[in-house]
């Protein structure tokens, strides 16, 4: 390749009929082989844990008392509530979700800075479900060689039956995936009963249908194409990584020159260089994305570590040390070749920076969650008119207030204004008690909108006076307050 002359581009354009090259390539079917080893075991465990969480979490109960659902995790779209164990999120608190997403992406960056595409290889739903679908495929259609042979031959009745069975099992898993999804949006046991007795709302069946379709297509048919062509993360990841990040690496310093065992033994006897790689291709055979890790770091590689397992078992068999493919860095491979010391640095500015932001964002979220009040007041000044002159010459301002009661029982609140000496308060949609205080009563886990009229009986001197609204819970004295202005004509 190196001796290919780089011809002049203009010459190339005129001379090369490269337009005849196909613009689209047929997909190369991948038949990953079964493998055993440390990383495979880790992947099995993570698969069981993540899928277990996904499928069974909606059934966990969490007692919140009356007036609230008892499902630990529930997205209640109809009532605009999100329940997560002891946390209840209202729509206006959606910034917690934003915070979680920020944390998630930072965690992804940190993972990437430490050891590359850990997310892709072990935790991504696409990887987990594809792994499960491959397991089903192997279980029904046999391992790599058998599947390749059956696909090459003319379709036999037995192969057709096995393929049908495989697709049936895939569809069942996909259907269960969609089924579990909708359980997060309604009371799970009730919905399961309704689904089984065909009484569930059409929307539930529709969503199950959509997720069955996407799961079956993405994990059964698209597989590694999703990672290579559809997912943006490999591209972003490549821009975020650095030379210290651990990656699944073929140690070519030790492996090259590769050759058959016999040939390399002979070379060694002659005192010539010979590597440990016996070119058995096991690393390629087990790869779920069909790459050759020996070509180095590449976009298609999801770094699941299965080639490490495959290579290690071969190395053990031929009596060589493990770790010809391992989590390592290209920088260290080069260092070893040049006799320099290896550099391994997990604690470095990049990881410290990510960990620092995670700590900051995390503590902001925890603090705001801990200090969050169950009482909430917002006030909006009338825009038109800004003020009204009454018949006796006093000035009145209208406000729309919204009071949120996040308690699970009905609460009564008293609303007071501070900042005006002779303020009189009136409330439309509330009541006035004997002392003339404005009282609002808000039902459990609800909000109430009311109109508040504030009248200054002494003619105000300033065109705008700071006004504070204070809402006090009559049962426990909790306060919420917010500021606004009292507007009056210029004097």
């Amino acid at each position: 390749m190196a001796d290919t002359p780089l011809s002049h581009p203009l010459g190339a354009a005129s001379a090369a009929p490269a337009d005849e090259a196909p613009l689209y390539v047929p997909r190369k079917q991948i038949y990953p082989q079964a493998v055993k080893g440390r990383f495979r075991t880790i992947k099995w465990i993570l698969l069981a844990v993540t899928l277990g969480i996904y499928y069974f979490l909606p059934f966990i109960r969490w007692d919140r008392g009356p007036n609230a659902p008892d499902q630990a995790i529930l997205v209640d779209l109809a009532n605009g509530r999100f329940y997560f164990f002891f946390i209840e999120i209202w729509p206006q608190e959606v910034y917690y979700i934003t915070g979680l997403l920020v944390l998630a992406s930072l965690a992804l960056f940190l993972m990437n800075a430490v050891a590359g595409r850990i997310w892709c290889g072990y935790l991504c739903p696409q990887t987990v479900w594809t792994d499960l679908f491959y397991a089903v495929e192997r279980w029904i259609e046999g391992d790599r060689r058998e599947r390749m042979r059956n696909d090459r031959q003319k379709l036999t009745l037995q192969t057709a039956a096995r393929k049908s069975l495989k697709h049936f099992v895939w569809l069942m898993i996909a259907w269960w995936t969609g089924g579990a999804w909708v359980l997060y949006f309604a009371d799970a046991p009730t919905l399961v009963y309704e689904l089984a007795t065909l009484q569930a709302p059409l929307l539930a069946y529709t969503w199950i249908g959509i997720l069955t379709f996407t799961t079956y297509t993405l994990a059964g048919w698209m597989r590694e194409q999703v990672c290579t062509y559809m997912c943006p993360w490999p591209r972003i990841q490549a821009a975020l990584t650095d030379e210290y990040a651990l990656n699944v690496t073929y140690r070519y310093d030790r492996g090259e020159p590769r050759g058959s065992m016999k040939k390399n033994e002979a070379l060694k006897l002659q005192g010539l260089p010979a590597g440990d790689c016996i070119d058995c291709n096991q690393c390629v055979n087990v790869c779920p994305t069909g790459v050759d890790i020996r070509k180095g770091l590449q976009l298609d590689c999801i770094q699941c570590g299965l080639c490490i397992d495959a290579c290690n078992s071969v190395m053990t068999k031929i009596g060589r040390p493990e770790g010809l493919i391992a989590y390592d860095t290209d920088m260290n491979v080069k260092a070893r070749m040049e006799g320099r010391p290896e550099v391994r640095r997990i604690v470095r500015p990049r990881t410290l920076f990510y960990a620092g932001i995670i700590a900051v964002v995390g503590s902001i979220m925890v603090t705001s969650l801990a200090l969050r009040q169950n009482i909430y007041l917002s006030v909006m000044h009338d825009r038109n008119p800004l003020f009204v002159r009454l018949s006796d010459g006093s000035i009145r301002n209208g406000f729309t207030i919204r009071v949120a009661n996040k308690h699970l029982d009905e609460r009564r609140y008293v609303l007071t204004v501070e900042g005006l000496a002779d303020a009189k308060i009136d409330i439309v949609g509330g009541e006035l008690d004997q002392q003339g205080r404005a009282i609002v009563t808000v039902g459990p886990d609800q909000t109430l909108e009311a109109r508040v009229l504030v009248t200054d009986t002494s003619y105000p001197t300033s065109a705008s006076t700071d006004l504070h609204f204070v809402l006090t819970d009559l049962s426990n004295g909790d306060k919420a307050s917010t500021s606004d202005h009292f507007k009056a004509p210029e004097r």
Binding site: A12, A16, V388, R389, S391
Partner: protein, 294 residues
Amino acid sequence: MAHETHEQVDAVTGVTTTGHTWDDIQELNNPLPRWWLWTFYLTIVWAVLYAIAYPAIPLVSSYTKGFLGWHSREAVVADLNALKQQRSGMTAKLAASSLDEIKQSPELFAFARAQGKAAFGDNCAPCHGAGGAGAKGYPNLNDDDWLWGGSLAQVEQTIRFGARSTSDQGHSGTMPAFGRDGMLKREELSHVADYVLSLSGLPIGKSADLKAGAKVYADNCAACHGDKGQGMQELGAPNLTDKIWLFGSDKATIMEGLHNGRGGVMPAWHGRLDDTTIKALTLYVHSLGGDQRP
């Protein structure tokens, strides 16, 4: 890779090129997967089917209707009907309850105010302003001064039948054109204007003859505006002693009213709006200022 082909190979990546070069930048040939191509064809098929199924192609005076018969106007009507259906329970309650009953029920009151606000924006805002702030000649609905009364029942009456409207049940009563119709002379108008200004403590000129003004007032104005200028809601005669002036409180404006008369029209909404909408409007307008006094 240096075999005998016509293909150009990029030396850095080992990828063939398409042969296209712009400013010495070569286009590498990294082909997309074939399913991508099929997806592209599928979108074309989709577009054709869509054009057949839905309204799509404009013709000279019409357009292709599409065999599904979907129509955007009908879709809107269907949505509106669905909305009405959804609200029918509350609307029925609103229709069955009296104004006072609605005001006592927080749920109904909130519903009526929300509906009234929308109806106000559609029907009333052109004259009374988006927040009911009014304008010169169009009353501010946020204050406590009501020409025809500010109780729930009075507000409803005014909305339903209007003032000086085409409805014979509407409020009548106009301010006569004392000057134009020759009932009063110009200096009499000036005297009574000064007197009216003095009723609410507004500054008057030094040359004002309040005694003459009071006499003109007693003879011509007191029948409607009251002995003390306190007004009369039955006739829509405004209170002349308060701080609220529909047209303005300077002498020229008052003179203008005396000379030409006043008679702003509030249309009758009965028959144009249904009963529940009028109820909702009443409660909304009443909630702006209503009969509350400071």
